[in-house]
Amino acid sequence: MRFGVIMFPGSNCDYDCWWAIKEVTGEEVDFIWHKEENITGFDCIVLPGGFSYGDYLRTGAIARFSPIMKKVKEFAERGGLVVGICNGFQILLEAGFLPGAMRKNKHLLFICKYIHLRVENPHTAFTNLCKKGQILRIPIAHFEGNYYATPDTLSTLQKKSQIIFRYCNKEGEITDEVNPNGSLDAIAGVCNERGNILGMMPHPERSCESILGSEDGKLIWKSIVTSLKRIKK
């Protein structure tokens, strides 16, 4: 399978994604420069974390206008898999690929630490190797990860099982105390209705090796590979 990792100016988790996909998961991966005209030949596009264009305005607000986003849109419309991690998630929201918006964290501080996630929907292209309710240990690192959606949108997300991950404690319970950023309904990751675009605040690329403290992130990359193989058959 061939992954493409987009490099916006200011992306800084691009190499980390590359390493996790190539060296840990053993799949093919290339960078896609934000000025690239042609992005054919990829099975999955990754929008990595970082501070695209500095994010001085609002996270993802400039990147959504990057010419490469038109190509990503076409790719997704053809059914290609797209994953936005952290800043990538913020860009997908700003670009309208996913419903909702991000606010600053409830404590108004950047926060970087390992947290626990509960898999709410294991029947997606991104989580098919997980069990329902499985608890993953994956780090977060962001200032704007406080997810918000209107009541209507939230109820649609719930009804259509588009909420993929929620913040929880070690035991899998969801409480205000363990919600690190104040996200509505403790949402950590959502997908679109079609199920081919995922946005998540936690960084699976940072938790693919035991030496880094967790290998749970691998489940996401491997799920993607599994579903791509199924599609290709």
Binding site: P9, G10, N12, C13, Y15, D16, W19, A20, E23, G49, G50, F51, Y53, G54, D55, Y56, L109, F110, I111, C112, K113, P139, A141, F143, H203, E205, R206, C208, E209, I211, L212, G213
Partner: protein
């Protein structure tokens, strides 16, 4: 700004130049300087750029070693050989004054500046560390400064994508109003790709790259070279504004440029901006240099040559490109949307020529501004306060009745508590190399594609140095080395930040000299040469000078990451042992300060031979896989160190039962501080093998107790002194710092 018509005495004084220095300028030029030249001399001869007071003292540092590739002072940062064809480039720098008046921007630009020093040498930065000191947390201004400084480092490091992997945060009223903000950056480069900061080869082109030039940061180097006063906030325009996104582009473009082999040399435009970068690169290349400042991109109208030359606008670099390769270089800059302008060329001869279109704005011999700048042998006198404060009569220190509550009080001291409120604001994981998260004795980053990892530790104890600058200097180096040893790394070399008061005060200069002598002694004995660093004088507030505070940044190398060691207890039933034996002292201890409000006594003495043997023993034990944890005994003494061993791993708290066979006073036993001691834990089956190594190295090992249970109990001759649930210890330690910021 308008050019003054005449240079008079007041103008000379405002520029921080003495009458003698002005006479010397006239002698060098053979005429009166013009206004632009006066400004150039003033910044290049400032303490900040010229090290005119510290140079003769810094010569005492050992700077040579088998693995030293770039020695202190040769380039913008030092470089050490780490094998496999790679070099580690690292340096620490202070940004104290800017942070005192504008904490967020001051700290952020401090981080930005040191990062540029690393990547302009061709190295990819892989880690940041910060060493921060503030006044008391109970003071609102100190909390404001802490919040701003941490926010600034976070903003810069997080955005540019370099993990801030650890550091230290310390509070003491001596730093009230004059915080210390020292940031260290570590980078990795292939040995043969190290780029020099030199302008060489007649006709090669000088490129100006990055942000445009404005009036921000005007005269920052001079600002850094005087004391802070009540009016210092009026110097706010001397603090620069940062743009980490621009720096990220500069970083990537620079490394790409170096790969393409079109670069002769490059330098960051840091303190004294365009002036120092052009002059210093020419000086190192033994060349002349000619620039036309009408070609310098500007963001403000009507700037006079003086302002262009002295601006400290951030995120700008000077790149010397091989003649004929200009287009190739431009293409790379354009790819990264960077503005790059050719503004001059390298010349033969030795003249620094600044043109403004057709007019000559300044013409000065290069070396007059660098190697031939004035150097002073400052007077030094042993401070009068010393005899008084060294005397500590223990009978004046009441022994607390309830040691359990004192123990909790110690654990909630801002200097002991978990610093997670600080480091969780830093992205400490980006790069996916951080294999030991912040909070351990040292930070560890792996080198992808090898079995190796680099360990970093920042240490310095201003109280010890206040009470005994020489021992304090020694201890700063030894403790930093011990910290990297505790994670399994061999200490290689140091960088440092020397934070002191006003150097023309003989008592301050005595402190400075003694600290440096102590550090030099320890560096020689432990074979960790000094690869560079920075001196920050004039750290004074209206109440006086800060405690003398040298901060050491130690680099260590782990050959095999399978033998990484961590400080926390791991297995029920493991033996808890004390490796090494140093004499305990309450002098300068956290206990004396936090519980009894005293800063007195003789700090612990350090025997460097014992220290060396201890470090060798610990490393051997780790490499042979004999021990399960190692933690340096430091601030707060044995009791606090043991508590940390129990609670540092949040995922798995572990109790311990300890019995001490000591005869001293209970508070000395528990909270007295000593050097050359490490708490280790090991399985009892390894004890004999461990004892053998201990004997061979002539150090001592005492079994203190066992790991296990839900409590930490410390007894003296079987009589309980402390018994606390580890959950309570954890909660106290974990939440104390953030409680200062909850609304």
């Amino acid at each position: 700004m308008k050019e003054p018509v005449k240079i008079d005495k007041d103008l000379i004084k405002v520029h921080g130049l003495t009458d003698e220095e002005y006479e010397k300028i006239k002698e060098v030029l053979g005429r009166e300087p013009n206004f632009t030249e006066l400004g150039i001399f003033s910044v290049m001869w400032s303490e900040h750029c010229s090290y005119k007071s510290s140079k003769p003292v810094l010569r005492k540092f050992p700077t040579q070693g088998d693995n030293i590739l770039v020695r202190a002072g040769e380039e913008n940062a030092g470089a050490a050989d780490i094998g496999d064809g790679f070099a580690a480039v690292f340096k620490m720098e202070s940004h104290n004054h800017p942070s005192a008046i504008e904490p967020f921007q001051g700290a952020a630009t401090g981080a930005g500046g040191i990062i540029r020093d690393i990547f302009t040498m061709g190295a990819r930065p892989i880690a940041l560390m910060d060493s921060l000191r503030f006044g008391c947390l109970s003071d609102a201004r100190s909390r404001y400064l802490l919040k701003g400084v941490v926010g600034g480092v976070a903003f810069y490091g997080n955005c540019i994508g370099i993990p801030t992997v650890g550091g230290e945060t310390f509070f003491d009223k001596t730093y009230q109003g004059n915080p210390l903000v020292n940031v260290l950056c570590l980078g990795i480069v292939k040995k043969d790709k190290i780029v020099k900061a030199q302008a060489k080869g007649e006709g090669n082109t000088i490129f100006y790259v990055g942000s445009s030039t404005g009036r921000d940061g005007l005269g920052g180097a001079s600002f850094a070279s005087r004391e802070l006063t009540d009016e210092s906030h009026e110097d706010r325009p001397a603090v620069q504004i940062c743009d980490p996104f621009m720096e990220k582009l500069l970083l990537e473009a620079t490394l790409e440029l170096i790969e393409s082999a079109v670069v002769v040399g490059m330098q960051d435009m840091g303190a004294a901006g365009l002036t120092s970068s052009t002059v210093e690169t020419a000086s190192r290349g033994n060349s002349g240099i000619e620039i036309d400042i009408s070609l310098v991109p500007r963001r403000e109208e009507g700037m006079i040559p003086y302002e262009v030359m002295l601006s400290e606008s951030q995120e700008r670099m000077l790149v010397i490109v091989k003649k004929g390769k200009e287009e190739e270089a431009k293409k790379i800059f354009e790819k990264w949307d960077l503005h790059a302008a050719p503004i001059g060329r390298v010349t033969s001869g030795n003249s620094f020529l600044v043109k403004d279109g057709g007019k000559i704005a300044a013409e000065i011999p290069v070396k007059a501004l660098t190697t031939d700048a004035p150097v002073y042998l400052r007077e030094k006198t042993k401070p009068e306060y010393l005899d008084g404060v060294r005397n500590l009569d223990l009978s004046d220190v009441p022994l607390p009745e309830d040691l359990n509550s004192i123990f909790l009080k110690m654990l909630s001291s801002p200097n002991i508590v978990s610093k997670s409120w600080v480091f969780e604001q830093y992205d400490h994981m980006v790069g996916t190399n951080t294999i030991l998260l912040p909070g351990a004795d040292a930070a560890v980053v792996r080198m992808k594609g090898t079995k190796k990892a680099l360990a970093l530790s920042c240490d310095g104890n201003g109280r010890y140095c206040y009470l005994d600058p020489y021992e304090g200097g020694k201890i700063a180096v030894a403790e930093a080395a011990r910290n990297v040893v505790c994670v399994g790394a061999k200490p290689l070399a140091i960088t440092n930040c020397l934070n002191f008061g006003t150097p023309t005060d003989p008592e301050i200069f005595w402190q400075f000299s003694r600290c440096v002598e102590g550090m030099a002694e320890a560096c020689k004995e432990l074979k960790t040469p000094v690869t560079g660093g920075n001196v920050s004088f004039y750290n004074e507030n209206p109440q006086g000078a800060v405690d003398p505070t040298p901060v050491v940044g130690m680099l260590g190398l782990i050959e095999d990451i399978d033998y990484l060691c961590t400080p926390w207890f791991k297995k029920e039933g493991d033996l808890v042992c004390l490796l090494g034996e140093g004499e305990k002292s309450l002098g300068g201890s956290e206990y004396l300060y936090h519980v009894h409000n005293l800063k007195k006594g003789q700090p612990p003495k350090l025997n460097l031979h014992l220290e060396k043997a201890l470090q060798k023993t610990c490393l051997e034990a780790i490499k042979k896989g004999l021990i399960n944890s190692a933690h340096d005994v430091s601030d707060g003494g044995l009791a606090i160190t043991l508590a940390e061993c129990c609670i540092l791993n949040e995922e798995n708290l572990m109790g311990a039962d300890i019995n001490l066979k000591e005869s001293e006073r209970e508070d000395v036993i528990l909270f007295g501080e000593a050097e050359s001691q490490i708490i280790i834990s090991c399985s009892s089956s390894n004890l004999n093998k461990l004892k053998k190594i201990v004997r061979e190295n002539k150090v001592t090992l005492k079994v203190l107790g066992r790991v296990g249970g839900e409590k930490l109990t410390i007894k003296k001759e079987e009589k309980p002194l402390i018994s606390q649930s580890i959950q309570e210890l954890y909660t106290t330690w974990k939440n104390s710092l953030s409680s200062y910021f909850e609304m």
